[in-house]
């Protein structure tokens, strides 16, 4: 029987749909035309402009500071929350579960506004600190959910076995539980990191004058600056992501 070609066409259509925009951005980043559109010749100008723009580097630094710190804190808190959800099955845990789930389903704009009102009413000046707190708030939920997934297959008797063999509870956590959870913790952390890196809506509400992050800066560049520089920036970010994914895959394969 002749195989149907239909799946192939669908696959090609999806690939085009996904990657054509990126390819266009890639091409435009080398286009000498100031506003994109028609091809006016090949140039590296936009990359030079990008590297000499101090504001971009400042925004990138802000973004990385917030992403790293909020990931770090939310991984710790999220893992602890996941442990509590896994270990203790009381009535209170039902509400705990709902509370953890809530930030995943609540619209970003609502969360942004409520956090803004919260910070203003507490008279906390808007800036890196408020962005950090806001990012931790939603990242905890993602980390907790991913780590909880890993916990579902966790057999608590291996913790008891460790205690039984003379380990203290903390040693058992360090040597047995955390290594077991590590894939979940890493995945949750990665998720939190990416979410923090490109969050726009919530950050928009809680950022202050000197705490512009990269997504906010890109948005303002779209309106006031040069779209072509953004194209160049986008290409670098895609390349960076690609390299990171590639390396982590290689590392995982080596471990197998």
């Amino acid at each position: 029987m002749k195989k149907s070609r239909f799946p192939l066409y669908i696959t090609i259509a999806i690939l085009v749909f996904f990657y054509l925009p990126i390819i266009i951005v890639f091409a435009q980043s080398f286009n000498a035309s100031r506003f994109g559109g028609a091809w006016k010749g090949f140039t590296f100008d936009w990359y030079w402009k990008l590297f000499s723009d101090k504001n971009i580097w400042h925004a990138l630094t802000n973004t990385l500071i917030i992403a790293v710190s909020s990931t770090f804190v939310s991984v710790i808190l999220g893992t602890i929350a996941a442990f509590a959800l896994y270990k203790y099955k009381t009535k209170l845990q039902v509400s705990h579960n709902v509370l953890i789930y809530f930030p995943l389903v609540i619209p970003d704009i609502l969360m942004g506004i409520s956090l803004l009102l919260f910070f203003v009413s507490l008279k906390i000046g808007l800036g890196l600190l408020t962005i950090f707190l806001a990012h931790v708030t939603f990242s905890i939920s993602y980390v907790a959910m991913v780590v909880l997934g890993r916990f579902q297959d966790f057999d608590y008797s291996i913790m008891e076995a460790a205690l039984d063999l003379g380990a203290t509870w903390w040693t058992a956590v360090r040597k047995i539980m955390i290594p077991y959870l590590m894939p979940g913790i890493a995945a949750g952390g990665l998720l939190a990191f990416t979410l923090s890196l490109d969050d726009f809506v919530i950050t928009f509400f809680v950022s202050g004058p000197d705490s512009t992050t990269l997504p906010l800066y890109i948005y303002s560049m779209m309106r006031h600056g040069s779209p072509s520089v953004i194209n160049a920036l986008s290409v670098l970010m895609v390349a960076f992501t690609f390299i990171v994914v590639f390396i982590s895959k290689k590392l995982l394969e080596a471990k197998e």
Binding site: D155, S157, I158, E160, A161, A162, L163, D164, L165, G166, A167, T168, T171, K175, I176, P179, Y180
Partner: protein, 377 residues
Amino acid sequence: MDDFLILDGISKSFGKHKVLDNISLTVKKGEIFSFLGPSGCGKTTLLRICAGFEEPDSGRVILNGVDITKLSPNKRQVNTVFQNYALFPNLSVFENIAFGLRVSGIKESQLNDEVGKFLELIQLTSHAHKKPDKLSGGQKQRVAIARALINKPNVLLLDEPLAALDLKLRQRMLVDLDNIHDEVGITFLYVTHDQSEAMSLSDNIAVINEGKVEQVGTPAQIYEAPRTSFVAAFIGDTNFFEGDVIEVDEPYSKLRVDGFTEVLAYNDKKIKKGDKVHISIRPEKFTLSIEKPDLSEKYNSIKGKVEEIIYLGYHTKYWVRVNEFLVETKRLHDRYMLDEKMITWGDEIWLSWHADYCYRLWQSLKAKLKKRRTSYK
């Protein structure tokens, strides 16, 4: 010291459900002691109390003369082999076994020697660097045992260690366990719901039902002389009869069993005329014959009709109708002598059994507990 591990009046409830009800047991040094009972009888909870994972509501656990009831698991000189092995998935076989020693902070060279010794004991030296998920069920179990033994515990607790293995492997592991026990000489506390495991391994068995100890004794005592109907029914097959004592002639008495016959029974417990008694007779204690056998007066003999025969290879079961009773009997061969006529369905045959094979059961649990209490002190 003879009484090595003493459980003294242990009770434990989970919510309203009373799991253990005033359990008192003593385990001798170096023996294999089994908790035997159906699932949900509380035997695992009792083991977890010994390990320190649960604290009893009342009662004490005394190990080697020291009260360890409130001691946390990592401070107790007992180690556990878990039902599902509970090996550390992120550590190799070597590191799993070494875990207890590493935690205690032993020198590296000494650690290698010790772990090597135990790897040899469980014959897994060539698998030392594999992760647990690359091992078979039997190998995992052996690693779990070595891991628990390496700290040289006073008592090794085994929680249904063979339940996850198939029959052939289980039989092999039973022999292995027995050999390991001979080798290390540590007291084993063995929890199982499988009577044949308990019988073949144990020096002593405690039969537990609904949080109470039904009987403590050697495998032979438990099987041959069950104290309660639960023990008689749980360990092997049996026939129950309820009768009235009509005549006592020590050490025997005559009982009338309604719907059956008059039975001559040995008085293994004190008895008087007019008592209502329950007795159990094991199926293999009956002798089946086509002719009326010529036996001493201590034998009971009665005629019955074969209603059902089940051939099971190494033995055959016969259900024989005697008046209102259907008596379960079994014998090793379908006939004793090759030139004897084979028993078939509908045959009228004679059932004979010695008076000593009738065991009186203690029906009243309260009376039994009282008796146990006085015998302990």
